[in-house]
């Protein structure tokens, strides 16, 4: 009976750990000087697809991605771009070839690189894990999506496959 209780508790803890890890929020970060504090999911999609290339204040939007293998970039590729990750570079090459972009999005290998770029480029936007927000500097802020902050109920950028 005692062993059975221990197994049950262990199982419960495992399930809790699995469930909390399985749904991770993806936070949208921008430069602190960016007046935007809220963006709709639809607008976010337009930004990612470079249909919308400027913020409301006229500042050029610069997309910054974590590495293609990161959970956040994989989430964007699967859920927002809806393309195969193998075609991600081809997607951008096609955009360039069609003269839709004059500059490729920036992709950095490390979180510190992301932080540096977003804090230096006024129009930069990047997607990071909720647990990484604490490492961002003074020049970066997290913006709301559909009026919700990461972690709040109804926040739309939830990576269920993490």
């Amino acid at each position: 009976m005692k062993y059975f209780s221990v197994i049950l508790i262990a199982l419960f803890l495992f399930v809790v750990a699995f469930v909390t890890d399985a749904c991770a929020n993806v936070a949208v970060i921008v430069n602190k000087s960016n007046p935007a504090s809220d963006v709709s999911y639809n607008n976010l999609k337009h930004i990612l697809e470079v249909k919308k290339q400027r913020w409301d204040n006229g500042e050029k939007i610069t997309l910054v991605f974590k590495p293609i293998t990161s959970n956040e970039t994989q989430f964007l590729i699967n859920k927002l771009y809806k393309i195969r990750s193998e075609n991600f570079y081809q997607y951008w090459m096609l955009k360039s070839y069609n003269n839709e972009i004059s500059e490729y999005p920036k992709m950095t290998e490390s979180l510190s690189g992301v932080i540096t770029l977003v804090s230096k480029i006024p129009g930069a936007v990047c997607f990071i894990g909720i647990d990484e927000i604490a490492q961002c500097g003074d020049n970066i802020k997290v913006i709301r999506v559909n009026g919700k902050m990461p972690g709040e109920d109804g926040y739309p950028l939830i990576n269920k496959e993490k």
Binding site: A27, K52, N99, T108, A134, D138
Partner: protein, 463 residues
């Protein structure tokens, strides 16, 4: 006796003390010498190591291209000790959520990433940072076998290797809202000559998302394929373009290139987007392969308008819309059968569905030629293509169809044979690497009632 013993004891004590003192002095000198030797050898070793490192660094800087700024940054970071961790409030979010305060370094010049002035990255090409000038390219090598020679475009032997197109495209950002774009293709003619074609050359004005302007030589915004795939064979799934959308110099019936102005934009709504493209250009020359890049033989200009809907809230990845093109083709004074101007009206449409592994493209066009003398000629054509990607493999199928009006003087008097086409193509694309694709396809077609089987192989790449 006791006195004497005391004196002896004092004497011994003095001698012992003197001996101890002398020994102590001697030991200190030895230690000093040893210490001196050790320090000298350590100092010499350190000096040697430093000289060695400096020499290596100097040699490296001579033989590697390292940006100046980066070297300065390295020097600075070596000179300045690491900053102590600074306790900071990181964002609005943290203020509201009361998350733990971060311990981290302030972003400084030392960890700036954008220090390169010239950069090469596979897929992004060679980039010169000052003007964001970038050079990229595409190329392909083909092999083909056909069991019959039919028509001008495929009567160059039944089995051969072929250098395809070598495509260089250059983009440059002239300002925050102005950019330059050119696409130059080197084609290897059957005569052995190398033809150089400037396929696109334009200056792009990005006013806002609702209005963008392109001035120069553009790809006519007819349908979907002509707007998106252009000359880079690596980008398209299949070996060749659809029959109806072949380029003018390959015997294509549509005006693929135009010189003039193009206005485009996108209206974004909550559930769907609406694209529009309008072009105003010189139009066609006297025959299908005559592109009017520097002059226009008549004062009539060509207009093309395309509207495209993207209902992403209903079906993600779906886009469709109509296209209309109007032009007056000038008469050919050297050819009595082309003595009249021709009013050209092309209308068509496309339905495209691209999501993850699925690719579905359908386009159809009706080409209406009115000779002003009362004769009207209609040509109809289109294609349907589907593909499904499984890992690196992408099997595909395409159906091509064109039905020409045999009496149409614009096609019948051309240097090319415009043949009625009814073709089925089955193929497989394999992405050998991120930027190289191998394609193999088999076509069975009926060209003017003649059955033809064709096998095509292609390796297409981007750099």
């Amino acid at each position: 006796m006791i006195k004497m013993l005391n004196v002896i004891a004092v004497f011994i004590a003095v001698i012992m003390a003197a001996c101890v003192h002398v020994n102590a002095v001697e030991m200190n000198e030895e230690e000093y010498a040893r210490l001196k030797n050790r320090l000298t050898s350590e100092f010499m070793q350190k000096l040697k190591d430093e000289i060695k490192h400096e020499l290596i660094a100097e040699l490296k800087s001579e033989y590697t291209i390292e940006p100046k700024q980066k070297q300065e940054v390295q020097q600075k970071s070596q000179a300045v000790p690491a900053q102590p961790a600074v306790q900071t409030q990181t964002s609005d979010y943290q203020e509201t959520q009361k998350t733990p305060v971060a311990l981290q370094e302030e972003p400084t010049e030392e960890n700036a990433l954008e220090v390169d002035t010239v950069n090469y990255k596979l897929g992004e090409g060679l980039t010169f940072k000052e003007q964001m000038l970038s050079i990229r390219g595409f190329g392909n090598v083909d092999a083909r076998y056909s069991d019959k020679d039919v028509g001008e475009s495929i009567n160059q032997g039944s089995a051969f290797f072929s250098l395809g197109e070598f495509d260089l495209f250059i983009t440059s950002k002239l300002s925050n809202r102005i950019s330059f774009f050119s696409e130059t293709v080197f084609e290897f003619e059957s005569t052995g000559e190398i033809a150089t074609d400037i396929e696109r050359l334009l200056i792009h004005y990005d006013i806002n998302s609702l209005l963008k302007a392109d001035v120069g030589k553009i790809h006519t915004p007819i349908g979907y394929w002509n707007r998106f795939y252009h000359h880079g064979r690596w980008l398209q799934t299949t070996v060749d373009r659809p029959e109806i959308l072949k380029f003018e110099d390959d015997g294509g019936p549509l005006p693929a290139h135009s010189t003039g102005i193009q206005l485009s934009g996108i209206a974004m709504f909550e559930g769907f987007d609406l694209n529009y493209i309008f072009s105003f250009s010189n139009g066609r020359g006297v025959d299908t392969n005559h592109q009017q890049n520097s002059v226009d033989l008549n004062d009539e200009k060509a207009f093309c308008f395309q509207l495209e809907a993207l209902p992403h809230s209903i079906v993600e990845g779906l886009r469709f819309g109509p296209t209309i093109y109007y032009d007056v083709i000038p008469e050919d004074e050297t050819n009595p059968n082309r003595a009249n101007e021709i009013r050209e009206l092309i209308y068509g449409g496309h339905i495209v569905y691209l999501v993850k592994n699925v690719e579905l493209l359908v386009e159809a066009f009706e080409i209406n030629h009115d000779e002003f003398s009362g004769d009207v000629f209609n040509t109809f054509g289109g294609y349907a293509q589907c593909a499904y990607a499984i890992s690196k493999f992408k099997p595909y199928y395409r159906y091509d169809y064109i039905n020409y009006d045999r009496k149409d003087p614009f096609y019948s008097e051309s240097e090319f044979d415009f043949l009625d086409t009814n073709t089925h193509t089955v193929g497989l694309r394999y992405d050998l690497s991120q930027f190289n694709a191998l394609k193999c396809e088999v076509s069975h077609g009926v060209f003017d009632d003649e059955d033809v089987n064709i096998i095509r192989l292609q390796t297409a790449f981007s750099f």
